[in-house]
Amino acid sequence: MKLDVRLFAQARDLAGAEHISVELPASSTVADLRATLAAQCPQLGPLTPNLLIAIGTDYASNETMLSPDADIACFPPVSGG
């Protein structure tokens, strides 16, 4: 399945894009997405282990299953306030 991942903050700056398209087998998990992002986008570099993944408006754990129609976002730890 082809997934569109929105990027924010330094992840967006390092990737040089607001979205990244990722190809994953059906029944992949967030952990699989992390591995693919790291391989496909090495410029994320030091951020990679700390990136947060959101599906819809909720944070996802590594075990969360992905679906092709999910709204997926990827970003570093937050610093609002």
């Binding site: 924010f8 903050a9 030091p46 700390n50 570093p76 730890p77 937050v78 610093s79 609002g80 306030g81």
Partner: protein, 150 residues
């Protein structure tokens, strides 16, 4: 009332919006752009947000706080975009019948906002360098990512 805005935060109007005859206490918290962070001088901050999720998380925080304290009204507004030194980046206003609850709820809301709401700040230092603040990640300059607001 929950909002993200690119405009100057009218914290007087925000405070008025939570006032009520049922409240004996109103607490307002403002986060403002601070000049000095770990010995470095900040000229401005740029805030980025994932708006849909930020609004959803703020709404969750409101629900969480209303379950815990007898809140009459609550208002939270966060600025995004470019903020100069001294400007207000975030405002949280809470009204409750008695003051301990208003202080506790406001403290809880701003603390949780900083933990879970997908908003990020980028430092613009007076030496011309910029740096995203991502807690737990060392900036490339080697400086620890301390926050340039409260």
């Amino acid at each position: 009332m929950i909002e993200l805005t690119r405009d100057t935060i009218d914290y007087t109007a925000l405070t008025e919006s939570v006032r009520s005859d049922q409240a004996g206490a109103v607490v307002l918290f403002l986060g403002t752009v601070r000049e000095m962070t770990a010995g470095r001088q900040t000229a401005a901050l740029d805030y980025d947000a994932y708006p849909e999720m930020a609004l959803a998380k703020l709404a969750e925080l409101e629900t969480e706080a209303r379950d815990r304290w007898p809140i009459i009204e609550v208002a939270m507004i966060h600025r995004i975009g470019h903020l100069e030194l001294g400007e207000v980046s975030v405002a949280v206003a809470v009204s409750t019948p008695h003051r301990p609850d208003a202080f506790e709820a406001a403290r809880h809301l701003i603390d949780r906002l900083k933990e879970i709401v997908p908003i990020w700040k980028k430092e613009n230092f007076t030496d011309g360098t910029t740096e995203w603040v991502h807690p737990g990640i060392e900036p490339e300059s080697g400086e620890t990512g301390k926050l340039a607001t409260d």
